[in-house]
């Protein structure tokens, strides 16, 4: 057995005289020696090379085992003596730090003091670092071959006498595999442990998975305690992919064998797990892009052999492990229901249960072949039979189609032999003309079928055509045996023989009754439409974009008392008052610009010289290309309606005025007082003056002062009267810039005595320097007066101290000012707070409920709004908000 193996090895490895020297005892090896003789090496030629494999981890690590197996597998074939093969384990994950390293160094130095090691194989980055950090401290003469060290670990530099196999774990390609299998995945969960090695993996994964950004979410479960980690991965469900890297230590400090940890995680995960580690395959992960540890070991062995053969390590560039490949666990594919068909080409499928196909391939092929031949035979027979049937079928269908065509076209055919006057007709022709199906057809029967009114003309046409050898098309009516009248189209063609002699007429007769009826009804409908348009009381016209009238109906003519001829061709804009022409032309232009249907009202010059109103619905008529042809307009006279509206408006004004008057009536006592005050002062002053004049000498200075006072009091009385008159008068709104504070002060002057009379204390909060608003002084004073009187009445039941009226002016958001009138009455009942401004809604026993609704309409006419709220403690606040006059804030 050994001999066979060595032979295979020798044939496969054309290497190394040094090694050959170790095989002197084996007869098979002479050939090898012959081939390879002539190499050189510092090592003694007469002894086997001594090789030390220094592992980063401990001996039970599956990866370590796999590398060792691969290495020795390759080496053993050339190096049979296990005596010269040493293994040491740094156990660097569990024990770390300089103390441990120093201990290991001392231990190894002592242990191998008497042994000359020819080559050190460093397995894993920690072993390499351990050696590289202590150049010459251990086995100074021995070159180093490393394995299981990633490129990133090499970045820190390499001892001169070292070469090795660089592991390339391809996280990205592993993800590609995962995504090929699970294209719907939304998230990648990357699992790593808490050990430094694990952390390094996490860092690298973050770097390598950057390409997934924007495509998948990435989530890192790093350094968690194992129980937590298992719970987390157990929660995952569809749409997630787990990528397990290494867990050498978890968050609680518990050490793990990476493969076992991965197996536990994969077993608990609710979704499929992937990894880059060969050793995990078969332990629960689906797979990954994997370089086998055994292969790495074997590759390292090849390098080791070359180094032992005398090649300098620095001439041997560190190389990548044998090409990695996609590796999957077939059982896991089944477990997660993943399709083998989605695997990238060249994927190695492990643990696949051999199928029947694999077991009985040849038998199956034979069976299929036989079945195939039989099937072809049967198929051939079937095809032949089918073809025949299809040919028969097609013939039958063609016949059917023919007859169907003539029937469905419902065409009557006739032929007249000119020489014999014999007539042939088909069945459809008989049916159309209403001829007896069995009786022979003659010229007479043709003529008789014709409607009496059409008979002469139809016969003449036909006779003339025959006489002159002409063709014809004509429409006429026929009367069926049931007396039903039908319209037919008769299209006849004249045929001549080769000599040019008239031979026969052939014609087609078609029933066109339906078409005739449709034409008839269209005509009727047009007639009706015309009637409707003409007899309409609505005004109808059509006009061109420049308002030139192209059509007017009778009503339009009647309205303007002009004839149609007079109107058409003129521009309707001339019938419109000058003041409105520009607006209407603008509207028409807008209609033409954007064709649509629009309603508007405008004034017109009536023939009696007055101004009327018309409401129009204009519809733009466009052609197929969207070009405006003309505008159709339907309108009616709205003059009466307008007048009624104006009257209603006037009435509304009157109601407002009457309300004002009513409020003033309520105020009259207080107003009398307002007048009384100056009158009192005047009277007393005058009487005092009289007395002064009676004295000798009169105190003229005092008399002058008295007269001044009289004049000023008289003015004051006049002001009161003027204010009253302003409130009483009826008139148009007079918009002017107003200062709300002045407005408020004016109203408060009117109500001064009323408040005193009612024992109501007044608090004013007037914000100074407010911009002007634009409004009608009298109307707004009326609104405020109304609110104040309401507030007074609301507080009637209160004790003296609780009768406080607060009036304020303040900004109300940007561009608005408001007046607030707050009372301490019972407030507004909850259900009325929105409805209190509606007409006929009142909280007052004797109230009409018109005051607030008029107030609101006045404020609305000013572009403002009015609302009420209940105060937190008691009473209600009423707000009048008005827009600041444009430019008022400037």
């Amino acid at each position: 057995m050994m001999g066979v193996m060595s032979g295979v090895a020798a044939a496969g490895w054309p290497l190394r005289p040094g090694l050959a020297a170790g095989l002197v005892a084996c007869f098979c090896a002479f050939a090898v020696m012959g081939i390879c003789a002539g190499g050189g090496r510092a090592q003694d030629a007469d002894r086997d090379p001594r090789i030390l494999m220094l592992f980063s981890n401990e001996s039970t690590q599956p990866a370590s085992e796999a590398v060792a197996r691969g290495f020795r597998g390759a080496f053993d074939r050339a190096l049979p003596d296990p005596q010269h093969f040493f293994t040491e384990f740094l156990d660097g994950t569990r024990f770390s730090g300089s103390e441990h390293e120093a201990r290991m160094l001392a231990y190894l130095r002592d242990k191998y003091a008497g042994i000359e090691v020819d080559l050190v194989v460093a397995v894993g980055p920690m072993a390499l670092t351990f050696l590289a950090d202590r150049p010459g401290a251990l086995f100074p003469a021995a070159p180093i071959v490393f394995v299981g060290v990633s490129e990133t670990s090499l970045a820190r530099g390499l001892p001169a006498n070292a070469t090795g196999v660089v592991s390339s774990f391809d996280v990205a390609k592993t993800m590609n595999l995962a995504l090929a299998l699970q294209p719907d995945a939304k998230e990648v969960v990357v699992v790593t442990g808490a050990a430094a090695f694990d952390r390094e993996w996490e860092r690298r994964a973050r770097e390598d998975l950057r390409f997934l950004e924007g495509r998948l979410k990435t989530h890192y479960l790093s350094g968690l305690p194992m129980t937590d980690l298992l719970r987390e991965v157990g929660r995952l469900s569809g749409g997630s992919i787990v990528l397990i890297l290494t867990i050498l230590e978890d968050g609680t400090g518990t050490q793990f064998v990476a493969r076992d940890a991965a197996a536990v995680v994969a077993a608990h995960a609710g979704v499929a797990a992937y990894s880059v580690y060969d050793t995990y395959v078969g332990h629960g992960i689906v797979g990954g892009y994997i370089a086998g540890f055994e292969d790495m070991g074997a590759a390292a062995a090849q390098l080791a052999l070359r180094v032992l053969a005398g090649e300098a390590p620095r001439n041997l560039r560190p190389r990548a492990a044998t090409a990695a490949s996609y590796v999957v666990d077939w059982r896991q594919l089944q477990r997660w229901g993943l399709s083998e068909a989605d695997l990238p080409a060249g994927t190695i499928v492990r643990f696949k249960e051999p199928s029947l196909w694999n077991l009985y391939r040849e038998q199956i092929i034979a069976l299929i072949a036989i079945l195939l031949v039989q099937s072809l035979l049967i198929l051939g027979l079937l095809v032949q039979k089918r073809r025949r049937r299809r040919a028969e079928e097609s013939l039958r269908r063609s016949e059917e189609r023919m007859s169907l065509a003539t029937e469905s076209a419902n065409l009557g055919l006739w032929q007249l032999d000119v020489s014999t006057y014999r007539i042939w007709v088909n069945d459809a022709c008989r049916t159309i003309l209403g001829l007896d199906p069995l009786a022979p057809v003659t010229r007479e029967s043709f003529i008789n079928a014709c409607h009496p009114d059409d008979r002469l003309k139809a016969t003449e046409t036909c006779v003339e055509a025959v006489a002159h050898g002409k063709s014809y098309d004509q429409e006429y009516r026929v009367v069926g045996p049931d007396g039903q009248v039908r319209w037919v189209l008769d299209r006849a063609r004249h045929f001549t023989d080769d000599a040019g002699k008239s031979r026969h007429m052939t014609g087609v007769i078609m029933d066109i009754t339906d078409r005739k009826r449709a034409e008839e009804s269209l005509r009727a409908s047009e007639e009706r439409y015309r009637n409707v348009v003409e007899t309409q009381t609505e005004l109808i016209c059509r006009y061109l974009p420049d308002t030139t009238l192209s059509f007017v109906n009778d009503a339009y003519c009647r309205y303007f008392e002009r004839s149609r001829d007079e109107l058409i061709g003129t521009k309707f804009i001339e019938l419109v008052p000058e003041s409105e022409q520009a607006a209407i032309l603008g509207q028409v232009a807008s209609l033409v610009e954007r064709p649509r249907t629009e309603t508007y009202e405008h004034g017109v010059l009536r023939p009696d010289g007055g101004i009327g109103w018309q409401l129009w619905v204009d519809h733009v008529i466009v052609d197929a290309n969207g070009r405006v042809l003309e505008i159709q307009a339907i309108g009616r006279d709205t003059t009466d309606l307008r007048r009624a509206e104006l009257e209603a408006q006037e009435k509304g004004k009157e109601v407002a005025r009457l309300t004002r008057v009513a409020i003033l009536g309520e105020l009259s006592g207080a107003l009398a007082h307002e007048l009384n005050q100056p009158l009192t002062a005047i009277l007393s002053n005058a009487q005092a003056a009289e007395r002064l004049l009676a004295r000798n000498p009169a105190d003229l200075d005092e008399i002058r002062a008295i007269l001044r006072d009289i004049v000023s009091d008289d003015k004051r009385a006049g002001d009161v009267v003027n204010r009253l008159r302003a409130l009483m008068k009826r008139g148009e709104a007079n918009l002017q810039p107003l200062n709300l504070n002045e407005l408020t002060a004016g109203v408060l002057k009117l109500t001064h005595s009323e408040l005193i009379e009612r024992n109501i204390a007044l608090t004013t909060r007037l914000t100074p320097d407010l911009p002007d608003i634009r409004g009608d002084r009298v109307q707004l004073q009326q609104v405020l007066l109304n609110l104040i009187m309401n507030a007074c009445e609301a507080m009637f039941p209160n004790n003296g101290a609780e009768r406080v009226l607060e009036i304020g002016t303040e900004p109300d958001g940007p561009g608005n000012l408001r007046i607030v009138v707050a009372d301490r009455g019972p407030g507004i009942p909850a259900g009325l707070i929105d409805g209190i401004f509606e007409p006929f809604i009142t909280t007052k026993a004797q109230g009409l409920g018109l005051g607030l609704s008029i107030c609101r309409s006045i404020v609305a006419a000013h572009g403002g709004k009015m609302w009420a709220t209940n105060n937190p403690e008691c009473g209600a606040s009423f707000y009048i908000s008005l827009p600041v006059q444009v430019g008022g804030f400037a």
Binding site: H673, N676, T680, A681, L683, A688, D713, S753, I756, E757
Partner: protein, 223 residues
């Protein structure tokens, strides 16, 4: 008591009315103090100064009726004339019930105002005189011993010396002595004078246990 001239205290919130009325009253020869509000008036008011008050009925804060009540509550008996812009019945009734001398409506005529002021000042003067007399009587009463007061009461009630002696459990002679002391202390010569004084000073008739008034503070206007 004070000899200060009678003063018309004028209270009206309307400055021009206040000025005009002040002028008129001054020209008519009255001493006038004018106030813009009841509060100002109450702060500066000295009840000892004789005179009357002319109050506007409707004023912000305390109105005229409130002011009248405030005066009465402080036992100031100054006569009050109301001037109102609105002569409504309820407030005039209330004012008169509370002892107002007059209730005038604006614009008030010179004759009405001056007549009312004259009446009010007369009433004030009479009231002050009556109060001054009462004060004298009370002064004299306060010098009596308890026994003398008992005797005084019974004398005023019209009892004879003998009857009084029997009632008080003593002899007639003792009563005579008491009686002459009382007459002396009260500065009267006759029993008739004594009875008149006692009536004005509100000395209870005959009731031996009744305590006599002790000072002008509790004096009441004559009935």
């Amino acid at each position: 008591l004070t000899d200060a001239p009678a003063t018309v205290f004028l209270v009206d919130d309307d400055p021009s009315v206040l000025r005009a009325l002040t002028r008129l009253l001054q020209v008519a020869g009255h001493q006038v103090q004018a106030f813009r509000s009841p509060a100002e008036f109450l702060a500066a008011h000295d009840p000892a100064v004789p005179g009357c008050a002319v109050l506007d009925l409707a004023m912000p804060g305390l109105n005229g009726l409130d002011l009248q009540q405030a005066l009465a509550a402080s036992s100031c008996l100054r006569p009050v004339i109301f001037v109102s812009g609105r002569g409504d019945v309820p407030s005039s009734v209330q004012a008169m019930k509370a002892g107002a001398v007059d209730f005038l409506t604006k614009p008030v005529s010179e004759e009405d105002l001056l007549a009312a002021v004259r009446r009010a000042l007369d009433r004030d003067r009479l009231m002050r005189q009556a109060r001054a007399e009462l004060a004298v009587i009370a002064e004299r009463l306060s010098t009596l011993t308890p026994r003398e007061r008992e005797v005084l009461g019974l004398v005023v009630a019209g009892r004879l010396n003998k009857q009084i002696a029997a009632e008080l459990g003593t002899v007639e002679k003792t009563i005579k002595v008491h009686r002459s002391r009382v007459m002396e202390k009260m500065c009267v010569r006759s029993v008739a004078d004594l009875v008149r004084l006692a009536e004005r000073g509100c000395i209870p008739h005959g009731a031996p246990q009744a305590a006599a008034p002790t000072g002008p503070a509790s004096a009441r206007p004559p009935r």
